[in-house]
Symmetry: D2
Subunit: 326 residues, 4 copies
C-alpha cells in the first residue's frame, strides 16, 4: 500500500451533560487540554497531541467519528483517492474546521462505521513526567476502538487487504466463522477490534495504563468519588489479548476500557492467535462472567454524510452470549 | 480477663481428595511443612509455626475445628476453667495427640462453632525472605475466620464480653439489629467475623497477602494452571474492612479469602465503624455483586464432642441477599 | 507490668521554615489536620487521631519529643509513678497545654531521649477510603522511631524489662555486643529501634505505606515536584525487618522513612532474629550501600526539662560504617 | 529506504562458565529454549522466536554480535547490497550455520560494533500466559542494545540517515554536541542507544518487564538466591526515557538492564526530547548517583571478520561522569 495509517488517534463523542462527563473523565485521570461551554478536549498523560477524546455537548449520545492518524499529508491524499476509486464518498474537513486538527476526511466504512483520517494534530506539552498531576487511573494514551459489526469477516478482509492492518488474535465460532478479530497498525494487539453483534455500533474505546496498580488505584478513586456504579466489568484478565481490563460506562453510557498487559506484534512471522468462542479462558482468563449489558449495549454511531444516527442490523452470525467459566 | 487469646491460629479441614487439595493450596503459594497419605500441613511464607491449615483426608468435607492461639499454658488453663465454670464441656487433647501441637482443648461455642485453644505449636523455619520460594499469591499468614451464625448479637456479646475481643466494624439491618460483626484480638480488622445466616457454618478462612499485586499474580497463576473456575468472587474491594479481596473455592468447596488492605486497630478510642446493610459501598466498594453461591454456600462444621456434622438452623434475622450497586 | 503502652504515637519536630516543610510533607501525601502561622499538624490517611507529626516553627531544627500512646489515663498515672519511683523526673503537661492532646508527661529516657506518654488525642475523620485524597506516597500511619544511642544494651534492657517492649530483630557486632535492636509494643517489627551511634539523637521517623507501589509513586511525585534531592537512600529492601524502604530528608534535614513490608510479631514464641553487623544482607538485602550521610547525620534532640539541645557523646561500641555488598 | 529493520532481535554473548551464567539468567526469569554443553539459548516470556540471548562458552567474555531482525528475506538482500555499495564488507552466514536462524549477514558498523541482520528465526511456543512459569523478574522480551562509541554524532547520522532509525531522546553536552542518543525502529524509546565513551563496547542489553512490581520481585528473588552483589544500580527511574530501571552484571560482567516505563513513539511529529548532560533529572529522575563501574565498565566486542577482540579508543568528547543530584 502507498499509504501508512500509523495508529488509532481520537474519538469524537456526543454527550448530553458536559459537566457530568467532564467530572467522570477527570476522575479517570485524563488531562483537559481545553474546553468551552460546548466542548471538552482530553488527552492522556503521555500524549503530545492535543486530544484523544473530544466530548461535544449534544441532545443525544453518539459516536460522531473515530479517527486514525496517518503518516503524512501525502498519505491522506493517497488514502482518500483509494476510497474514491472504490466508490466510497470522501467528505473532507479542511484545516481550521476542527479544533487543533489539520485537514481530514471522513468516510462510512464497509460495515457502516464513521471513520476519519488525519495527518496533523496540534502538538501540546507531554505530561509523562508530571507525576504530580497523575490522578485516578492515570490514563496514558488512547489504545484502540472496539466495534460491533454485523459481518466481521467483511470488516476483517477490508481492513487487512485494503488498509494494511494485521491480525493479532481472532475468535471463531463452532463453524469456523470469524466471530471477532483484533487488528493493528502500531505493533500492539490492536488499534481496532470487530466483534459480531448488532451493528454498526461502537462497543468501547480502550485507553492504555502504565501498570496494573493504576487500574486498581482507578477503581478506588472512582468508588471514593461516587462513581462505583460506572464500573461495568472487571477488574479481570482477558485470555484474548492478555489484557488486564476494567470496563466503565460514562454518564451517557459510552463504554471506556482501561487496559494494561499488551505485547509486541511487530514481527511478520507472528501467527494470529486463534480462540474458540466457547473457550472459557478466552473472554475471561480469570474474573467473572461479563454482565448482559456488556454484550447487549453499545454506542450508536452517526452517518458522516448526514449526521444522522445509523440504523443497526442483526449480525450475520447467530448472536449469542458465549459460555465462560461454568 | 485473666487470659490472653493472641490471634486466630489454624483451621483443620476435612477434604475428600488429598492430591487435588494439595495441588490447589500449593498453587496459591502455601508452603507444605509436612504430609503423609492422610494429612497435609500448610503454612504461609512468614509463619514460624508448623501450620495454619491442616488438611485431613476424610469421606466428607467439613471444618473439624478452628483454633486460636493463647499467650501461655497458664492462659489455657484459666480459659478452660472459664468455660467449665459457665457449664461448657471442655474436651482436652493432650500434647502428642495432634501433630506439632501442645496440649489443647476444644469446645462448641455459643453459636455451635467448633473452637480450639492452644498455647504451643512447633516452631519451624520462617521463609519470609526466601523469595525464591514465592509462588502464586504468595500467601503470608492466616488472618481470620468468617462464620455464618443464626444469632450474631449473641456471638458478638459472648466474644466481646467473655473472651475479650474488640469490634472493628459491624453491619446493621434496617431495624438496627446487628447483621454482621468483625472482631479482633490482634490489632487488625479481625480474627473472626460473624455474619447472619444459616448456621453454624464456616463461610471462609482469610489469608493475608503482602500486597495487591500478589492477588493479581495469584489469579494469573491459578488461571494458567486450570484453577480459574475456583475463583468465586473478586478481585474487588470491600468497603467494610477496606480489604482488597479474592474468594476461592477449594476442590471440596471450602472457601478461602485472599486478603490485603487491613489497618491498625490497636487503640481503645477507635470507634467501631457502622455500616448499613444496604449501603452499596459496604460489601463491594467496587467490583461486582457477589454471586449467589457466596451468600448461600458454606462449610459444614463438626461437633467437637461427637465428631458428627452440626445441624444448621435458619438465622434469627430475615436472611436476604443485600442490594449492592444497582 | 501494670501499664500498657500501645504504640508509638507522634513526634514533635522543630522546623525553621514552615512553608517549605509543609510543601514537603504534603507532597509525601500527609493530610493536614490543621495549622496556623507557627504550627502544622499532619496525619496519615488511616489515622483517626489528630496528628502523628507536629511541625513547630523554631529557629533551630530539633526533635522536641517523641510520644507513645498508652491504653488509658490510669496507665498514664501508673507509668508516671514508675518513673518517679526510679528517680526520673516527670514533667506533666495538663490537658489543654498541647493542641488536641489530653494530659501527658515527658521524661528524658535512659539514653537521654525526650519521651512523652499520653492516653488521649482528639479523634478526627479517618480518610482511609477517601482515595480521591491520596497523593504522593499516600502515607498511611506512623510506624516507628529510630534513635542513635551510645549504649544500645542499656536502652534495650530498659525498654524490655521496665517498659514491656519485645524484641523482633537485633544486630550484634563481632564481639557479640548488641549493636542495634528493633523493639515493639504493637505486634509489628517495631515501635522504636536503637542503633549504636553518637547519641542521643533521632535517626528517623518511620511511616507505613499500604504497598510497594506507593513508595515508587512517592519517588515519582517527589521528583516531578523538584524534591529528588531530598531522597537520601533507596528504594531498597532491608534484610533486617524485611522493609521495603525509602529514606528522605525534610527541608531541615529530619529523616523520614517510608516503609512497607512488615510482619506480625504477636507470638511469645517468636524468637528475635539475630543478624551479624557485617552480614551483607542485613542493612541492604538488595539495593546500594547507604551514603555516609545516612550513618553520620541525625536530628538533635531536646532536653524535656530545659528545652535546651542535648549534648551528644561517642557511642560505647566502636562506631563504624558496616560493610555491605562490595 | 527499501528495507525495513523491524527491531533489535538478539545478542550473542561469550561467557566463561556456562553453569554460572545459566543459573543467573534463570533467576531473572528467562526461559531456556534449549542448551548443550557449549551453548544456552534463552528467550523472554512473550517471545515467539527461539531466543533473544545466546550464551556461548568461551575462554573470554565478549559480545560476539548484536542482531536486528528485518522484515523479509528480500530486505536482507537489499540491506546487504546497501552495505556492499558503500564499501562495507558483508559476511554471510547461511541458514543452518547458526542454531534456529535463517541466513544472516554480519558487518562491523560505522563505530566498530559487530552487527548482524536476519529475517527468520525459528518459531517456538510463546509462554505469555503460562503464568505458572513466571519467575524472578519475569523477563518478557528483548528491548534494546546500549553501546559506548567514540563518536556519537557519527553513529547517530548513520543509523538515522542510512538505516532509517528515528531518535526519541538525546543528550547534549555544554557545547551542544550530541553526547548520547536513543534510536528506535519499533515505536518504543529505543532499539539501540549510543553513549559517548571508550568504544566500541557494549554497555548493556535491555529487557522489557511487564510492570514495576516485576522489577521489585526480581530484586527480592535475586537477593534470596545470593545474587544481590550482581545488582549494580537501581532500582530507580531515568528522566531520559522515563525508564524504571535495574542494572545487573552477569557472572562475566555483561550488563543487563531490566526495564519498564516506555512510551509510544510512532508519530512523525514526535519531537526528540533534548536533555542537558548535567540536568540532574536526566540520568536519575530519582534514586542515587550511578556507581563508577556503571560509567567505566562495559563489554568488549568482537571483530565479525576475524573474531578478534576490537581495540577501543578514547571518545571524541571529553569523557566525564555527569553530575547528578548533589
Amino acid at each position: 500500500m502507498d499509504f501508512n495509517i500509523i495508529r488509532c488517534g481520537r474519538a469524537v463523542l456526543h454527550v448530553t451533560n458536559l459537566e457530568k462527563s467532564k467530572a467522570f473523565y477527570e476522575a479517570l485521570g485524563f488531562i483537559e487540554t481545553e474546553s468551552d461551554s460546548e466542548n471538552v478536549f482530553f488527552r492522556g498523560l503521555e500524549e503530545h497531541n492535543h486530544h484523544s477524546i473530544w466530548l461535544k455537548k449534544k441532545d443525544e449520545p453518539a459516536l460522531e467519528v473515530m479517527s486514525y492518524k496517518v503518516y503524512s499529508d501525502t498519505d491522506l491524499d493517497v488514502l482518500a483517492n483509494h476510497f474514491e476509486t472504490e466508490g466510497t464518498e470522501v467528505k473532507w474537513l479542511e484545516k481550521g474546521t476542527q479544533k487543533a486538527l489539520g485537514r481530514a476526511f471522513r468516510i462510512q466504512d464497509t460495515s457502516g462505521l464513521p471513520i476519519e483520517f488525519y495527518a496533523e494534530m496540534k502538538t501540546v506539552d507531554r505530561l509523562l513526567q508530571r507525576y504530580d498531576l497523575y490522578k485516578g487511573a492515570k490514563v496514558q494514551r488512547i489504545d484502540h476502538f472496539n466495534c460491533a459489526v454485523t459481518d466481521v469477516q467483511k470488516s476483517y478482509d477490508y481492513y487487512i487487504n485494503e488498509l494494511g492492518f494485521a491480525c493479532s488474535e481472532y475468535t471463531i465460532d463452532d463453524k469456523d466463522k470469524i466471530w471477532a478479530a483484533w487488528l493493528h497498525r502500531k505493533p500492539s494487539v490492536h488499534d481496532v477490534a470487530f466483534m459480531n453483534g448488532v451493528g454498526p455500533r461502537l462497543h468501547h474505546i480502550g485507553f492504555w495504563l502504565k501498570d496494573p496498580m493504576s487500574l486498581i488505584d482507578g477503581c478506588d478513586v472512582l468508588a471514593s468519588m461516587g462513581f462505583a456504579p460506572h464500573i461495568e466489568r472487571g477488574p479481570g484478565r482477558h485470555g484474548l489479548s492478555n489484557a488486564f481490563f476494567l470496563y466503565l460506562r460514562d454518564p451517557d453510557g459510552h463504554r471506556i476500557e482501561l487496559y494494561n498487559g499488551d505485547y509486541l506484534t511487530s514481527d511478520p512471522d507472528f501467527k494470529p492467535i486463534k480462540w474458540d468462542l466457547d473457550d472459557p479462558l478466552r473472554q475471561t482468563f480469570w474474573g467473572h462472567e461479563a454482565p448482559d449489558s456488556w454484550f447487549d449495549e453499545a454506542t450508536t454511531v452517526l452517518n458522516v454524510y448526514t449526521n444522522e444516527r445509523m440504523e443497526t442490523s442483526e449480525p450475520k452470525l447467530k448472536k449469542k452470549k458465549p459460555q465462560f467459566i461454568i
